[in-house]
């Protein structure tokens, strides 16, 4: 069913890349260097932001104080820590993505620092990509710290919580780490959408739109249900388009399976990661079109 669209898409992409290779191949080396420089500057700026530091401290406290469920049986304790910890990582990761990515481009425009950057031999697409990469680096570091703390809490609890015959404290570490990695992909896809919006709107509008996109992206399966249950061709078309345009955030959400110690499909995760990367590229391409056309 999906092979025909894939074949068409693949042919289109390969053909376009082949036809335009004289335009983009020579720029690769220089483009990568300038993109990396912008990414490094973005990381340095984000590190200085108080809100980022505050959120990191808050989430670490939340994770560290997750052992106050000692009156529950061991399996329930594990479930509470895993679901609470993974949700904390996801929520704070997404909040950080919104507050980091939403300020990237509008602030440069408002402070007029973008003119200094673009007066150098830096393409606008490289600027957008560099900003996005910088945000992704800082978010990767923060989410890694949060995951390490959650894994530490689970290991400590596994050591101290006595197991019963019928109830065992199961840290489920492989799946917890997998779910945290998938949460990072969700954050990465959402951040790409935020960068896209920030190329055409103000900071406040970007923040509001980001929350909306997060909410809609988290209801992916409900939108799919609506498309499947649509009674008219127009409704089906509308919901299907909406389903494909919005970020597929539920693809990356494995918290439910991991918290309930259910079977976790790693293949689904790998496919979701691949799809996420394609979405990020698509969204950044559209973002660069908007940013290229923007009058400054």
């Amino acid at each position: 069913m999906g092979n025909l669209p894939f074949a068409i898409g693949f042919v289109v992409v390969v053909a376009l890349l082949a036809v335009t290779h004289r335009l983009w191949v020579p720029a690769l080396g220089h483009g990568a260097a300038s993109t990396w420089r912008i990414a490094k500057i973005t990381v340095a700026e984000a590190r200085r932001r108080r809100v980022v530091q505050a959120v990191v401290v808050l989430v670490l406290l939340v994770l560290l104080f997750m052992n106050f469920f000692s009156y529950l049986n061991p399996r329930e304790q594990a479930r509470m820590i895993i679901s609470g910890g993974l949700s904390a990582i996801t929520v704070f990761g997404i909040l950080l993505a919104i507050f980091v990515a939403a300020f990237l481009i509008p602030q440069e425009l408002e402070n007029r620092t973008v003119y200094a950057v673009l007066s150098k031999p830096v393409r606008r697409f490289e600027f957008v990509l560099g900003k996005y990469l910088g945000a992704m680096i800082i978010l990767a570091v923060i989410m890694t710290i949060m995951t390490v703390v959650l894994v530490g809490v689970l290991l400590v609890q596994d050591h101290f919580v006595p197991d019963f015959d019928h109830s065992v404290f199961e840290p489920n570490l492989d799946n917890v780490i997998f779910a945290a990695v998938m949460s990072y992909f969700a954050v990465a896809v959402l951040a790409a959408y935020i960068v896209l919006i920030s190329t055409v709107s103000s900071t406040a509008m970007t923040v509001i739109a980001s929350f909306l996109i997060w909410a809609i992206g988290s209801l992916q399966s409900q939108i799919h249900d609506l498309a499947e249950a649509a009674e008219t061709v127009f409704q089906k078309w509308f919901f299907t388009m909406f389903y494909w345009i919005m970020p597929p955030l539920e693809n990356f959400d494995f918290r439910h399976e991991v918290s309930n110690f259910m079977h976790v499909s790693y293949r689904a995760g790998i496919n979701a990661a691949g799809e996420g990367v394609l979405y990020i590229i698509i969204v950044l391409i559209v973002a660069s079109i908007f940013f290229n056309d923007r009058q400054m």
Binding site: G2, F10, V12, L16, E76, T90, N251, R255, N271, I285
Partner: protein, 319 residues
């Protein structure tokens, strides 16, 4: 201007091509995670607990349903230990709706209704209501979690122990026994179901079945299982036609039914005993009056003192 337009067109085509390439990936994710994306998934809405605006609330919570279920579960714990038992079912309804894969919540929900609230109820009508709800909750649980042997076993146990529906219970024990993770006591429970109602053909067949399961001599649990099953098999070979054993089982079964406000089982095909529809106790075959209390052996309409009156042998409904 024309260059820019051409470049934008190329980039848009490139984006469209990439979007098309995601189609098989998304379709494969739909197949690999049917409990999230299958439009017919059982976990979307569980019929018996579809209360008011819950589906909308669940939709709004999106990926945070598990956390919301955890918070409500903590309230269930507090209410349970605080003695606020009558508030618990509504909380557990919400927990089951929010997280249909939270197995312990289903187990506790069914158990609380069929055992605690059933026992706390003061009228027969209330008892029947809570037992029925408990069994219905566990049936929903099995429907929402068809891969869980624990929930199937829990439903079977509630039907056997509380509902006194041995034939249905045996069918669910059989289902639970088919799971590779299932324990040996589940296999033994299949024939236990037939003991109380003296369904000798099914009992012997289930005993034969149990003898052929869990046969690894290197596994301690299997060795123990074989000892128990062979003891039981030999016992029933010797006593399957023993009137005293039949009497013992009838008294045991109907005493349990009386304690649980369930109708007496009248053993219509028993060769040795007739069962009094009023007290559930056995009298020698052909007796006109109950040998224990002198009740007439034929049920009189409206005068039954039994917990629920007689029950036709058609009780053996299959699932």
């Amino acid at each position: 201007m024309s260059d820019r337009r051409n470049r934008n067109l190329v980039l848009l085509l490139l984006a469209a091509g990439l979007l098309l390439m995601t189609v098989p990936l998304q379709e494969s994710i739909h197949e690999l995670r049917p409990h999230v994306f299958d439009p017919e998934r059982k976990t979307k809405r569980v019929s018996a607990i579809n209360i008011g605006p819950m589906p909308a609330v669940i939709a709004a919570l999106g990926g945070f349903r598990t956390v919301a279920a955890d918070v409500l579960w903590l309230r269930v714990e507090r209410d349970f230990h605080g003695g606020n038992w009558w508030e618990i079912p509504s909380l557990l309804d919400a927990v089951n709706q929010l997280d249909p894969h939270f197995l312990l919540a289903w187990e506790v929900h069914g158990w609380h209704l069929a055992y605690n609230l059933h026992a706390e109820s003061e009228t027969l009508v209330d008892r029947r209501h809570y037992l029925g709800r408990g069994i219905a909750v566990l049936e929903d649980a099995v429907e929402a979690n068809p891969d869980s042997w624990e929930l199937t076993k829990e439903l079977a146990w509630t039907l056997y122990d509380r509902g006194r529906e041995p034939w249905r219970a045996a069918e669910y024990f059989r289902r639970a026994d088919e799971f590779p993770e299932s324990k040996s006591y589940v296999t033994r429970m299949i024939y236990r179901c037939y003991e109380g109602v003296l369904d000798i053909p099914n009992l012997m067949e289930a005993l034969e079945y149990a003898r052929n399961r869990h046969t690894d001599p290197n596994v301690a649990d299997d060795v123990q299982h074989q000892v128990i099953v062979n003891d039981n098999y030999n016992w029933w070979l010797q006593h399957k036609d023993d009137p005293l054993e039949h009497r013992r089982q009838i008294v045991k079964e109907n005493t349990a039914r009386a304690q649980r406000s369930r109708p007496f089982y009248l053993y219509p095909d028993n060769p040795h005993w007739d069962v009094c529809p009023h007290c559930g106790l056995p009298s020698p075959k052909g007796s006109e009056f109950c040998s224990t209390y002198g009740h007439p052996m034929k049920p009189s309409s409206g005068s039954s003192r039994s917990p629920g009156g007689s029950r036709p042998p058609a009780e053996a409904t299959s699932i």
